[in-house]
Symmetry: C2
Subunit: 343 residues, 2 copies
DNA sequence: CAATCCGTTGGTAGCGCTGTCAATCTTTGT
DNA sequence: ACAAAGATTGACAGCGCTACCAACGGATTG
């Protein structure tokens, strides 16, 4: 008879309120700020909700309150282990807060990023974490229009959209290569894959360090746009060796490549570091346990994710950091694979 | 004057409809099913939306339509590389569909899982993907009440909540250990970490294989609840060696542990496979490029994620698979690290 | 030529919750 | 004892969108 639409059949707040003998709005408050209720009502609503198995409808809540309790996170890859540490920090920091994480994967595509950003825009997240500082003009416009706290992570640079947590990839790689120079190596190769903006800046650090030591030679460089992997490290190193057989050290754009280089050395009976020094980037867990232990640049990935979320949460509460850009720095981890050259 | 609440200031569908000269409902249809409009109106709504920069309000849509376009995914870890392949499959399969992925991380905690499931319940996802088959009774009750297509991944077993895609960890490990037995190894150790249900079932496969070859000896086993890592593989192997110095092979619960064992062998000048055979589990990318190449059990992780999403999408459209449980199997990848024993 | 069908369009009435303000009941200070 | 301040509670009116039905026009059919 009725032409009204079918109700969902789920328990609603009104039912809970009725059973508890309070008004719907009081029941609503119970779920958002229990302290505001008198103990007796609080008790009654709690037991009514439990008895009925009430689950709040987030869509209705979001529509009525004009906000959500979601923090959007945009990262370029789930396969690259670097991000799993960042994500761990992100999830750990969000733990205990009422915000939940909504993860989206751009696959290193700026178009994908634009699209996902628009999806986030439709969802009105309470905060946003995006990777890198190379958004398209379009993406940046969306970000600026979003009107929620936002942190760019992994890198630092001028002109943050809102806040930033990261470090200078260029400086870090510069330090790594300078270390090799100091150790007495001269023909230092560079191996890089997946030449995303951060890898490119690392390459910039390599180039600057080599140039300032007057050791730069384009034949020492081997890069590819192909996604990084341990196997690829071996392949690139083999290619590099045939192009420049006289190299005495390799600086790798990341640790996976470095491990691949180590394996390739083992395969060719090149001893590390006597015949070939190796330095990686990121200081993944396995670098210290490889044989020989591999030098690397430690980056504070977990902290990066953690503080990005902390900053967003604080900003939601109205507390802004003294400086919008936070530099987490890096540490050179010197191990056997880059021991001084014996002449 | 008015005590009405402030409007959000965003462009609404009504504004778009007005500019396009159509009714709101027609504009609404444009965004959900453009084919239903006549070409002229379609054009008008499209340009109006573009001109105003309209972004649909997903909360309002979800509330009115009683459904969302989100597929929830529950996995136990973002750090364990095994899941990054599964996730790649999941994201790839959802690409192009209008559904987006909402990822949640249980950190191997069944309590966390229950809580996240309740969060999903409040969000009314269109589909759900959960890891493993060991949900608590409580979680299972929530899952069954969710009334959306659902796939349990990573394992197979009787009594799926709805659908399943996976393989038998026990059979796979049984095959790996039987392979070592066939190769002539006798004192085969087992190294395991993070003893989650899947690791435990793999251990079960080891135990059965050893028993059926009459080689089982509890001293050959070294496990820990600590999260897995490459370094840990070395530590556990060292512990195992001191407990059972006569072992001639190790079956590792996963590939990270296997690589750690290889490094520890290199450190101790044990040659692989002459002094010590190694078999891993999962066949990660690096296994083939290690020196020597490491044997492993290939598991179809990407396919698992991919078909889980495909099955959910098909089920949303009303097409159910002929069998609710899909066994993706495994392949033994035999490499140099488990070459036959020379006597 | 009326009857029927299909494709397209619009009107109405919510979806389930919360912001806003007002009303009521306590507590506190003088 | 009385006013002022604070703590609780409730009524009302939407938030922006879509389900549901109805209506309209043109094409097709007997």
């Amino acid at each position: 008879m009725e032409r009204k639409r079918a109700k969902s059949g789920e328990i609603r707040l009104t039912e809970v309120a009725k059973l508890a003998g309070v008004s719907p709005i009081t029941a609503s408050r119970f779920f958002r700020n229990p302290e505001a209720l008198s103990p007796s009502k609080r008790e009654r609503v709690a037991s009514a909700a439990k008895e009925l198995g009430y689950v709040p409808n987030l869509a209705a809540r979001a529509l009525a309150s004009q906000r959500t309790e979601v923090i959007g996170v945009l990262i370029p890859s789930l396969t690259n282990n670097v991000f799993s540490d960042v994500l761990r920090g992100i999830y750990d920091a969000s733990e205990g807060s009422r915000y939940s994480i909504q993860l989206a994967n751009t696959r290193y595509s700026i178009l994908q990023e634009e699209q996902l950003l628009r999806l986030f825009q439709a969802q009105k997240p309470a905060g946003l974490i995006v990777t890198g500082i190379d958004q398209t003009a379009e993406s940046r416009a969306v970000l600026e229009a979003m009107n929620c706290p936002m942190v760019q992570i992994m890198e630092i640079g001028p002109d943050p959209v809102d806040m930033m947590v990261g470090f200078s990839h260029q400086d870090a790689e510069f330090a790594a290569v300078s270390h090799l120079v100091t150790q007495g190596f001269q023909r230092i190769g560079f191996v890089g894959a997946q030449m995303d903006p951060r890898m490119q800046r690392r390459f910039g650090g390599y180039r600057d360090a080599m140039k300032s030591a007057s050791l730069f030679d384009p034949r020492l460089i081997m890069t590819t746009p192909v996604p990084t992997s341990i196997t690829l490290g071996g392949t690139l190193f083999a290619d590099l060796l045939s192009k420049a057989p006289d190299i005495d050290a390799v600086s790798c754009g990341n640790d996976d490549l470095a491990l691949g280089v180590l394996f390739e050395c083992q395969r060719r009976q090149l001893s590390v570091p006597e015949d070939m020094a190796i330095v990686g980037f990121n200081d993944m867990e396995f670098m210290a346990s490889a044989v020989p232990p591999l030098s690397s640049v430690r980056t504070n990935r977990y902290e990066m994710g953690h503080s990005a979320v902390s900053m967003v949460l604080a900003a939601i509460e109205g507390t802004r950091p003294p400086e919008p850009v936070v530099d987490l720095g890096f540490q050179l981890m010197i191990r056997e694979s880059s021991s001084p050259r014996r002449t």
